[in-house]
C-alpha cells in the first residue's frame, strides 16, 4: 500500500507542478487574470446583482405577483394600462398586476430555471461524456467501441430539434416550470457530454497521464484523480454559458406555448411571451422582461467568456 501511495504522491507532485506557475495554483492565476478583465468584472457584477435580487425577491417585491389588484383599471379595448406611478414603480401589467413585483419574483424563477436545467444537463452529460471518454481513453478496443456508439447517438441527439424534446416532456409531465427546466436541461446533455469527453481525451494524452500510466497507477484512479478534475475548466465555462442559454431557451419555449405558466411564479421568459400580444400598444410589457433577460444572459455569457479566456493555457501570456 505504501508503495502505491508513494507513487500517487509523486504523481500528485507532477500534476501540481503543472498547475504551479510562480507559486500559485492554476485557479488562482485564472482568478487574477479574471480580475484584470473588464468583461469579467461587468459579467460578475451583473450576475451578482441578479443572484442577490433573486434571493431577496420576496422581501423586495411590494405586492404578490399574481394579485390582479388593478384589473378594473385596465382595458384591452382602449389599451389603457396604468403606467409607472407612485404605487407601481413600473406600472401594472395586462392583468392589473404590479409589474415590478412580477419582475422581481421572475428573477427567482429564471435563476431557478437556469440552475436546475444546467445541473440536469451537466450531470447527465457528465455521466455520458465521462463514461464515454473514460472508455475511449482507458479500455482499449472495447472501450473505443462503447465510446463510438455513445457518441454517435449523442451527435444524433444534437440533430433532433430541442423543441421536440420540450414538447414531449411537456406532454408527459404537464406544462410547468419543471417541464421547462427538464426540457432545457435535456438539450444541454449532448453539449456537456461532448465537451467533457473531448476535454478528457485531451487530458488523457497529456504528459502527466502518460507518466502516471507508466508508473502503474490504476486506471480508474487516473480518471478520478487526475483526468476528471483537470477536465473541469471547459466544463465550468460551459456551465456559465448554459445558465444564460437556459434562461433564453425558456423564453423560446414560452413563446411556443410550452413555458411554465404559473402566474404566482412568473418567469421572465413567460412574461415576455405573455407580452407578445401587446407589442403594438404596450411595448413596455415586453421591454421590461426582455431587458432583464438580455442583461442577465449577457452577464453570464460575459463571465463565461472571460472565464474561458482566463483558463485557457494557450491564451496566457
Amino acid at each position: 500500500m505504501s508503495a502505491k501511495t508513494d507513487r500517487i504522491d509523486r504523481l500528485a507532485e507532477l500534476t501540481a507542478a503543472r498547475a504551479d506557475e510562480g507559486g500559485h495554483g492554476l485557479w488562482y492565476e485564472a482568478f487574477k487574470r479574471l480580475r484584470r478583465n473588464p468583461m469579467a468584472i461587468a459579467g460578475a457584477v451583473i450576475v451578482l446583482v441578479f443572484v442577490l435580487i433573486a434571493i431577496l425577491a420576496r422581501v423586495l417585491a411590494p405586492y404578490e405577483p399574481d394579485a390582479q389588484t388593478w384589473l378594473g383599471e385596465t382595458s384591452t379595448a382602449t389599451m389603457t394600462f396604468p403606467g409607472a406611478r407612485a404605487g407601481n414603480l413600473l406600472g401594472v401589467d395586462h392583468l392589473g398586476r404590479d409589474m415590478l413585483s412580477r419582475l422581481l419574483i421572475g428573477s427567482q424563477q429564471s435563476l431557478l430555471v437556469g440552475v436546475v436545467a444546467t445541473v440536469l444537463g451537466f450531470s447527465a452529460g457528465a455521466l455520458l461524456g465521462g463514461v464515454s471518454g473514460a472508455c475511449l481513453g482507458l479500455f482499449g478496443t472495447a472501450g473505443r467501441r462503447v465510446d463510438a456508439v455513445l457518441m454517435r447517438f449523442n451527435d444524433m441527439a444534437l440533430a433532433v430539434p430541442s423543441l421536440l424534446l420540450a414538447v414531449s416532456v411537456a406532454t408527459l409531465l404537464g406544462q410547468s416550470l419543471i417541464t421547462v427546466m427538464i426540457a432545457v436541461g435535456v438539450t444541454q446533455v449532448p453539449v456537456f457530454a461532448r465537451l467533457l469527453r473531448g476535454s478528457m481525451l485531451a487530458q488523457s494524452h497529456s504528459d502527466y497521464v502518460m507518466a502516471s500510466t507508466a508508473l502503474g497507477v490504476r486506471k480508474s484512479r487516473i480518471v478520478l484523480n487526475h483526468i476528471l478534475p483537470n477536465s473541469l475548466g471547459p466544463v465550468l465555462v460551459q456551465v456559465t454559458l448554459s445558465l444564460a442559454t437556459a434562461i433564453i431557451e425558456a423564453a423560446g419555449l414560452s413563446f411556443l406555448g410550452l413555458g411554465g405558466v404559473d402566474a404566482a411564479h412568473p418567469e421572465w421568459g413567460f412574461m415576455l411571451a405573455e407580452s407578445q400580444q401587446y407589442l403594438s400598444g404596450a411595448l413596455r410589457f415586453a421591454v421590461y422582461p426582455a431587458t432583464a433577460i438580455i442583461v442577465t444572459a449577457l452577464g453570464f455569457t460575459l463571465l463565461g467568456e472571460a472565464l474561458r479566456e482566463a483558463l485557457d493555457p494557450k491564451l496566457r501570456k
Binding site: 510562480g22 487574477k32 480580475r35 484584470r36 501570456k317
Partner: protein
C-alpha cells in the same frame, strides 16, 4: 567597422495591476561584419528578448524599448514598422529555437521559402521555386524539389531546422540571429546544425548573433561572448579570455555546471543554486547576489558597475573570482569542439 552597435538597450514589460518588469536593462555590445557573437545565459536572463527587440518583433503594446541599436547606419529601434519589415528577412534574419512550432504547419515548406524570395528578391513562380530548391540543397536537405511540396510535419527535426535556416539565409542577410537553434534537437544533429551555421556564415561573411544557454555551443563558434544575467550583461569578452579566465562568479558557475568527460570519477557537478527567479532588483545591488557563492556585503549596497580591463574583458562584479579558482573550472572548456562534419546530414533522414 561595427555592423551592429547596441547601446544601452532596455526593454520593460508593463502589465496592468503588476509592477513593470525590466527584462533587458542597459545592454550594450557590438557585432562586427562577419563576426560571431554569443549571448549566453540561463533562460529568463533576457537574451531572447534582446534579440526580439533588435528584430522589432516585440509586441507594440505594454512594452517599452529604449536605447539604440545602430545597424548599417540606421537605428533599428527608431525605424518605422514598414522599414523594419523591409529589413527583416532581407538585411537581417533570425532562426528560432523550436523548428516544428516555428514552421507553419499548414503551408508547404516550398511556399514558406519562396515567400521570402518573393517579398525581398522579387522572385516569382518557377524562378523562385528553383532558387528555393537551391537553398534547401545548400542547407543540406536532400531531394529538395520533393521537399518543397512537403509539409513541416513530414520532415524530421533536423530537416526542419535546416529549412528554417534556408529561409533565414535566403536573402543573404548581413546579420543572422540564431536563438537557441539547437536546443530542441538531438545531440548528433545539434553538431551538424552548428557546423552548417558556421559554414554558411563563413561563406557569406554574415555576422551571427548566437543566443544560447550552452557554453559548449559558444566555445566552438563565437568570437565574442556576452554573458547575461537578469537582463544585464555581467561579463563580456572574447572567447579565449572568457574561457581561460572567467571573472564573474556567474560565468564561473556556468562553466562549472558543464558535464566534463575528463572530470575525476565520482566528482559531482556543481550546479548554481536556486533559479533565475531568486534574484533581487539590480537597483538594490547585484541581482545574482542571492545565488552567489562569492557574495559579500558590498554586493547588495548598490548596482555593480561594469568594469572594463585593458584587454577588453568586461565584468560586472565587486568581488570577482580569483584566477586559481577560475582556472580550475575553465581550462578544459577552451578545447575546441570536435568537428562533426564527417557525419553526413542524410543520415538523420533514415527515420
Amino acid at each position: 567597422m561595427a555592423l551592429l552597435e547596441v547601446e544601452d538597450l532596455a526593454v520593460t514589460f508593463h502589465r496592468r495591476g503588476t509592477e513593470p518588469v525590466r527584462a533587458v536593462d542597459g545592454v550594450s555590445f557590438t557585432v562586427a561584419e562577419g563576426q560571431v557573437v554569443g549571448l549566453v545565459g540561463e533562460s529568463g536572463c533576457g537574451k531572447s528578448v534582446t534579440s526580439l527587440a533588435l528584430m522589432g518583433l516585440l509586441a507594440k503594446r505594454g512594452v517599452t524599448v529604449t536605447g539604440s541599436a545602430r545597424f548599417e547606419e540606421a537605428d533599428l529601434l527608431q525605424m518605422s514598422p514598414s522599414s523594419m519589415r523591409d529589413m527583416r528577412g532581407a538585411r537581417m534574419a533570425m532562426i528560432f529555437q523550436d523548428p516544428l512550432s516555428s514552421l507553419n504547419p499548414v503551408v508547404p515548406i516550398g511556399l514558406q521559402v519562396t515567400e521570402v524570395l518573393q517579398r525581398h528578391r522579387e522572385l516569382r513562380g518557377d524562378k523562385a521555386r528553383a532558387e528555393a530548391a537551391d537553398l534547401l540543397d545548400r542547407v543540406g536537405i536532400p531531394d529538395p524539389t520533393r521537399r518543397l511540396k512537403e509539409y513541416p510535419h513530414q520532415l524530421s527535426g533536423g530537416m526542419r531546422q535546416r529549412a528554417l535556416i534556408a529561409m533565414a539565409v535566403a536573402c543573404r542577410p548581413r546579420l543572422l540571429i540564431a536563438d537557441e537553434p539547437t536546443t530542441a534537437l538531438d545531440v548528433t544533429i545539434q553538431a551538424q546544425i552548428l557546423e552548417l551555421l558556421k559554414d554558411l556564415v563563413a561563406e557569406e561573411g554574415t555576422a551571427l548573433i548566437m543566443i544560447t544557454h550552452d557554453l559548449g555551443v559558444v566555445a566552438g563558434l563565437c568570437d565574442e561572448i556576452n554573458v547575461m544575467y537578469a537582463g544585464r550583461v555581467v561579463e563580456a569578452a572574447s572567447r579565449r579570455p572568457l574561457f581561460a579566465r572567467p571573472v564573474h562568479p556567474y560565468s564561473v558557475g556556468l562553466l562549472a555546471s558543464i558535464p566534463r568527460l575528463d572530470a575525476p570519477r565520482g566528482e559531482k557537478l556543481t550546479p548554481i543554486p536556486g533559479s533565475v527567479r531568486d534574484n533581487i532588483a539590480w537597483a538594490d545591488g547585484c541581482a545574482f547576489a542571492p545565488r552567489c557563492t562569492h557574495a559579500v556585503e558590498a554586493c547588495v549596497e548598490g548596482p555593480p558597475e561594469l568594469t572594463r580591463t585593458y584587454t577588453g574583458h568586461a565584468y560586472r562584479c565587486v568581488n570577482p573570482v580569483s584566477r586559481e579558482e577560475a582556472e580550475a573550472v575553465a581550462a578544459p572548456a577552451v578545447l575546441p569542439t570536435p568537428s562533426l562534419t564527417e557525419a553526413t546530414p542524410s543520415e538523420e533522414e533514415s527515420s
